[in-house]
């Protein structure tokens, strides 16, 4: 039995991978672009496991430490529904949507970079559209772009609708604002950061980490340190059921295929 142990573990991993693929659980742990590698590993692991179980030349000696190899199975069970708790986002506030915060010494370069990015945005989105619905595929893009377009006036006055969970304690937030956002995942959940939008609203009416749908008008303001921000002035706000919401969004490059070009061109759900 002991010399067949590694074969059994190979088969176990192969079945775990098969299970998460078959029951669509993989998205709880990996971005779409990384999921292919798990799918490609299922058959090699199965074959290696099978060969070891059937081969008599294997001289492997079992050690007690090898029991640690079943840890993924145990922790997959402990992970339950795989939803990261929203309170974890407070630990990730450095990823908050201030992508244009550049230090003063780099100001010259900033102006040049900003111009280039704005030109790209001009080509990417339809600014004649008065209404922007933030769905998962344009979430990261628009959140990031809002910090760039703050000086371009192109989004100001537009109506926007967005869903996400609330963060009241993000470090840049002025007193009368909260942040609404989701976890953004580039490769796996270990690199998840918070990506979101500034919402101007009476914070006392909001419960930290609860999920809301906000509809409002985009306006300009200042953050705690005096940087320009684009925020949403609330028209309607309602609490929504967190269990029905996807808590992860992915930057366009984290999708399989040429999603960046697709999203830039159409700005709609991928």
């Amino acid at each position: 039995m002991s010399k067949k142990y590694l074969g059994i573990i190979c088969l176990l991993y192969s079945f775990i991978f098969g299970y998460v693929v078959l029951f669509d659980k993989l998205k709880l742990f990996l971005a779409p672009s990384m999921q292919i590698y798990i799918k490609l590993s299922i058959i090699p692991l199965f074959i290696i496991g099978l060969v070891i179980l059937l081969n008599s030349n294997n001289h492997y000696k079992f050690k007690i430490i090898d029991l640690v190899l079943i840890l993924p199975l145990i922790l997959l069970i402990v992970a339950g529904n795989g939803r990261l708790s929203e309170s974890f986002a407070s630990n990730r506030a450095t990823n908050f949507n201030n992508k244009n915060r550049v230090k003063t010494v780099e100001k010259k370069k900033e102006v040049k970079e900003e111009k280039e990015v704005l030109e790209e945005i001009d080509e990417s989105y339809d600014f004649s559209n008065p209404y922007f619905d933030i769905v998962d595929s344009n979430y990261d893009g628009l959140s990031g772009y809002l910090s760039y377009v703050v000086k371009a006036n192109k989004y100001e006055g537009k109506t926007i609708r967005v869903r996400g969970f609330a963060l009241k304690d993000a470090s840049y937030l002025p007193d009368e604002y909260f942040a609404l956002g989701k976890y953004s995942v580039s490769c796996c959940v270990a690199d998840a950061g918070f990506t979101g939008f500034f919402i101007k609203y009476d914070k006392s009416k909001i419960t930290n980490n609860n999920w809301y749908e906000v509809e409002g008008i985009l306006e300009k303001g200042k953050d705690k340190e005096g940087y320009d921000i684009m925020y949403i002035k609330v028209i309607n706000i309602k609490e929504i059921n967190s269990k029905k919401e996807e808590q992860y969004i992915y930057p366009c490059y984290a999708y399989e295929g040429d999603a960046c070009n697709y999203i830039a061109k159409y700005g709609v759900e991928y």
Binding site: Y37, I52, A93, S171
Partner: protein, 299 residues
């Protein structure tokens, strides 16, 4: 309860992200063991330490090995009597210069900060070359791999020299599984430690250090070491840190993460001798720190 669940989710995500690449590395290692003889390697690898390390770096570009996959391949190369300088240069360069990581670094930085892309690539190569040569001078093969592992799977298959499809498949499967799990069992401890750090260490404390050039380099090097992200995803986390940290500290972060982290330290300690591992880690920290200070002068 939430904390335990979060730790489990982060652990599983690191496991899912790493295992396919470890499997790939183990399969490459097993194929080397089955088809490439020690004599062939001795003929190909130059004796000169500088040229040897350059060959190691080239190998890093053509073998699609990230920071997880390089460990079984490196161990196999050392067992195959490839000089230490070649294997270390390969191990350090490959996670930075392999095409997949280059593409992700390009996507993350090239549009807004192309110099970060170039510094990561060029300094990655130069640092791998320097550390490879130093380690090659200081250590020889016998001082590197833990005694209990040196002959563990060398001659158990009795297939070498009798190549038939059945024998070869059996040999590759047995070697791949031994290599894979010798690394994976230490990955379990490393991934657990990294998950604990991810959940329990508040990232906001990083902001305290962002005004001091030297401190911010050290803090981001330690951050890269502790959070143990794979070399593909750390580009994007590095990009988000660019909003609050200077470019040179981001470059230090991008160089150190792929070369060493807490997860790989535990895997290395399980496979190599302590003196070798701690010398390697110290050198990586010191050389990257010096190069990051150089960037301060250039930028």
């Amino acid at each position: 309860m939430d904390i335990i669940k979060n730790i489990s989710i982060i652990f599983i995500s690191i496991f899912f992200e790493s295992l396919p690449f470890l499997l790939l590395g183990s399969l490459i290692s097993a194929i080397i063991e089955t088809y490439v003889s020690n004599d062939t390697i001795a003929k190909i690898i130059p004796k000169n330490k500088v040229l040897g390390s350059i060959v190691g770096i080239f190998l890093g570009f053509f073998l699609p090995a990230c920071d997880c996959a390089v460990i079984p391949i490196t161990k196999r190369l050392i067992k195959k009597k490839v000089p230490i300088n070649v294997t270390i240069s390969f191990m350090l360069a490959s996670p930075i210069i392999n095409p997949v990581v280059l593409l992700s670094t390009y996507n993350a930085f090239y549009r807004t900060n192309p110099e970060i892309f170039w510094y990561r690539l060029l300094f990655g190569i130069i640092i791998a070359l320097i550390i490879g040569i130093i380690m090659g001078i200081v250590f020889n093969k016998k001082e590197v791999i833990r005694n209990s592992l040196i002959d563990e799977d060398d001659c158990h298959c009795h297939n070498h020299g009798h190549h038939s499809l059945k024998n070869d498949i059996s040999s590759i499967c047995i070697h791949a599984s031994t290599d894979l799990f010798e690394v994976v069992k230490y990955l379990m401890f490393g991934a657990m430690l990294a998950s604990l750090v991810q959940v329990l260490l508040p990232r906001n404390i990083l902001i305290i250090f962002n005004n001091n050039q030297v401190l911010s380099i050290i803090v981001l090097m330690l951050f890269a070491y502790l959070i143990s992200l794979c070399s593909t995803s750390d580009s994007f986390v590095g990009k988000s840190l660019l909003t609050i940290f200077s470019k040179n500290s981001i470059i230090a972060y991008l160089l150190l993460g792929p070369m060493i982290d807490i997860k790989n330290t535990i895997v290395l300690l399980g496979n190599y001798k302590k003196k070798f591992v701690w010398t390697l880690i110290s050198l990586i920290f010191i050389v990257i720190f010096i190069f990051s200070l150089l960037v301060v002068m250039i930028l």
